[in-house]
């Protein structure tokens, strides 16, 4: 076991990643490597490209350059080991499904075409609901949930995938303090079991208590690494101290003139 751990592949490796909207780069040459079993926070001001980073790692956005690897493989080879919690507002909460229906979706990836969920899948889903303290809501319609409960439902869906790495887009946005606490302790048990959890996070106050590692982002990567080493006043200043004017000017120039950027 020790030997395996020693040569363990990094959970996530991002190499020279550039992502552009309308040709303007919103992420510029990002390079990073995250070991397994860490609880990682992605920190940065609004518009810094935090969500863009995880979306492009998941393959939801086209990359202008660079590549990402998860467990030393390309994303499509290891999708079954990857889970994703999108932003809560990304779906229509009036959709006519129950909490259990949503959590069951986490099993769909494993099921494959033409297969229906079995009792075992339902058991897993119920178990995940229990973990987030939502088991009594299983048959509730999703429109009747509070913000915190919606977030717990999404989390249970991600858990139901039984993945090895979890990407979460602002899981604490608009949730109550109790939910936030419950979620973070759940994430802690997950990382204790060698799962990797990468979270887009907003609240600077809680960073040092929540996360093992941080990624400081503002269009470019400011720094990444263990929280106690990276999460310093000086680095924060650099992350939040305004955009690099020249960098964003050049980005605007590329978009305005439609320059071919890395094609």
């Amino acid at each position: 076991m020790e030997a395996v751990n020693a040569v363990k592949a990094p959970a996530l490796e991002v190499h020279d990643l550039t992502v552009a909207f309308d040709r303007k780069p919103v992420l510029w040459n990002i390079d990073l490597e995250i070991p397994q079993g860490k609880l990682v926070g992605i920190i940065g001001p609004n518009g810094a490209g935090k969500s863009t980073l995880i979306k492009s790692i998941m393959g939801l956005l086209p990359l202008s350059s660079g590549y990402c690897k998860l467990f030393d493989e390309s994303i499509d080879k290891v999708r079954h080991r990857i889970s994703y919690v999108p932003q809560r507002e990304s779906v229509d909460w009036d959709f006519p499904v129950s909490v259990l229906d949503v959590v069951m979706m986490g099993r769909y990836g494993k099921l494959g075409l033409l297969k229906r969920p079995r009792q075992a899948d339902i058991d897993v889903a119920m178990d995940c609901l229990k973990k987030v303290g939502m088991e009594s809501f299983a048959n509730r319609q999703i429109a009747q949930l509070s913000g915190g409960q919606q977030q717990r439902t999404f989390l249970a869906r991600a858990l139901a995938q039984q993945a090895d790495i979890y990407f979460m887009d602002e899981p604490f946005a608009g949730v109550d303090a109790a939910t936030e606490k419950a979620i973070i302790s759940l994430l802690r048990t997950m990382t204790a079991n060698n799962k990797t959890v990468i979270v887009v996070h907003h609240d600077l106050q809680s960073v040092s208590t929540y996360f093992d590692w941080v990624i400081l982002l503002n269009t470019r990567l400011v720094a990444y690494g263990p929280t106690e080493r990276i999460f310093t006043q000086e680095k924060l200043q650099e992350t939040y101290g305004g955009k690099l004017t020249l960098l964003s000017d050049v980005g605007d120039l590329i978009r305005r003139e439609n320059f071919p950027n890395r094609e």
Binding site: W28, N29, A223, L244, L246, L253, N258, F259, P260
Partner: protein
């Protein structure tokens, strides 16, 4: 050709009516439609167009005559009702706007058709002609129609002009308009009434289904050609008028051809053509520009290689073979030769036989490219925290595009450094 002169002499009063009618309708609808287009409510026009049908039928049933006044009144009522219903359903239930539009559109239209078939089978001698509203009757317009159309068209144009700035502000930023104290509710009422009015007369030319095209496609065409809202209105109106004219002409030369659908085909073709050919936004232009960029990049890369080859010996004007350039950087031989020819023509290179060398001008241009490349590499490492072995690729594109202003900024921010992250000297 004779039919062309015949048509454009407008000697035939019928031709005159049809043409004037079609042009008036399409031009004024295009004006009003531009606001709905900008308001991102393009499909409301479609909904209204379908929803006026039951009103027209009810107007006929209740009055017993085909007097356009009653029909337009009826159309107004149901057109309005449909808008109100869409808004009511969206705010009072969890049904989303697009579903509400489709729902109201189809149900109102179904009810209209039900009434229409009822009227047709009831044997009322007056009824013939009501179905013109379905597909339009541009080809059979008469003098009385033209008078109605003119009045409506003039009304719409005048209102557009009078309230131009209010409508523009409201469509651009409704909340700000409210904050400024504009009577936004009343203005919205006015604008929707104008749409209903445009629809009521417009469907007589092109019919219910295609009305949406007359409203919004000219605006879509105009949007490709300009960024100024005033010019956009003018272009939209001209596009609308032109397609009205063209539709009338086509159905004149081929009498079996329906005018309305041809009007729509003409506008849509214009939209497609604009999408392909429009300056700056058109696909073709973007393609050509890309090709130009690629050429510039290649040419500058050739100059850069010659410069770098000269850096070792500090002599930039040595004559070299193409093979030497290829050995330094992998160019396709043929495209390299084309680049060299272009550069010779522009005076950046000199050629003697198989050999070529930089000119003074060429050396300066190459020096600037190399300078920007190295400055940008330095900037990426010092300011953007990118590892020195990852900056080359990015600099390889930026070096060709940076404007002189940004170049000066870069020099100033870095404080005129001497060497890049790879210890190569930065030439000034």
């Amino acid at each position: 050709m004779s039919s062309f002169t015949e048509f454009f002499s407008f000697a035939d009063p019928n031709v005159r009516y049809v043409t004037i009618g079609a042009v008036l309708i399409t031009a004024s609808s295009a004006l009003v439609g531009t606001f709905t287009f900008l308001n991102k409510k393009s499909l409301l026009g479609d909904a209204i167009a379908h929803a006026v049908l039951p009103g027209i039928c009810l107007g006929f049933l209740l009055s017993g005559t085909k007097n356009p006044l009653y029909l337009i009144l009826g159309a107004f009522v149901t057109g309005w009702l449909s808008l109100y219903a869409i808004q009511y359903i969206t705010t009072k239930s969890r049904i989303k706007e697009d579903t509400a539009i489709g729902l109201i559109l189809s149900v109102f239209f179904g009810f209209g058709i039900l009434l229409l078939t009822y009227i047709q089978k009831s044997g009322n001698a007056n009824q013939s002609g009501l179905d013109h509203f379905l597909f339009g009757k541009a080809a059979s317009m008469v003098a009385a129609d033209i008078i109605t159309f003119s009045v409506v068209a003039v009304c719409l144009m005048t209102l557009t002009l009078l309230f131009f700035k209010e409508f523009t502000l409201m469509v651009f930023d409704r909340n700000y308009a409210v904050a400024l104290g504009l009577p936004v509710k009343k203005l919205e009422l006015l604008l929707t009434s104008m749409i209903v009015l445009a629809v009521v007369v417009g469907i007589q030319a092109v019919g219910v289904v295609l009305m949406a095209a007359v409203l919004i496609t000219p605006a879509a065409v105009a949007r490709f050609w300009t960024n100024s809202i005033r010019i956009m209105f003018v272009v939209a109106a001209i596009t609308g008028a032109f397609s009205g004219l063209a539709g009338a002409y086509i159905s004149y030369t081929a009498p079996s051809m329906p005018t309305g659908p041809w009007i729509v085909i003409v506008i849509s073709t214009l939209a497609l053509a604009s999408f392909l050919l429009a300056p700056t936004k058109g696909v073709l232009n973007r393609f050509l520009k890309q090709r130009r960029f690629r050429r510039t990049i290649q040419d500058e890369n050739v100059l850069k290689v010659l410069y770098q080859l000269g850096e070792g010996s500090k002599n930039f004007y040595i004559h070299r073979y193409a093979e030497e350039i290829i050995r330094k950087r992998n160019f396709n031989k043929q495209s390299l030769m084309r680049s060299i020819q272009r550069l010779c023509r522009q005076g950046y290179l000199e050629k003697s036989g198989e050999l070529c060398s930089l000119t003074e001008e060429g050396k300066n241009r190459a020096k600037r490219v190399v300078k920007i490349h190295r400055l940008w590499e330095l900037y990426l490492t010092t300011h953007v925290n990118i590892a020195p072995d990852h900056v080359h690729e990015d600099a390889d594109t930026i070096e060709h595009f940076l404007t002189p202003e940004l170049e000066a900024d870069l020099e100033r921010i870095l404080n005129y450094p001497v060497v890049d992250p790879h210890k190569a000297e930065i030439p000034y």
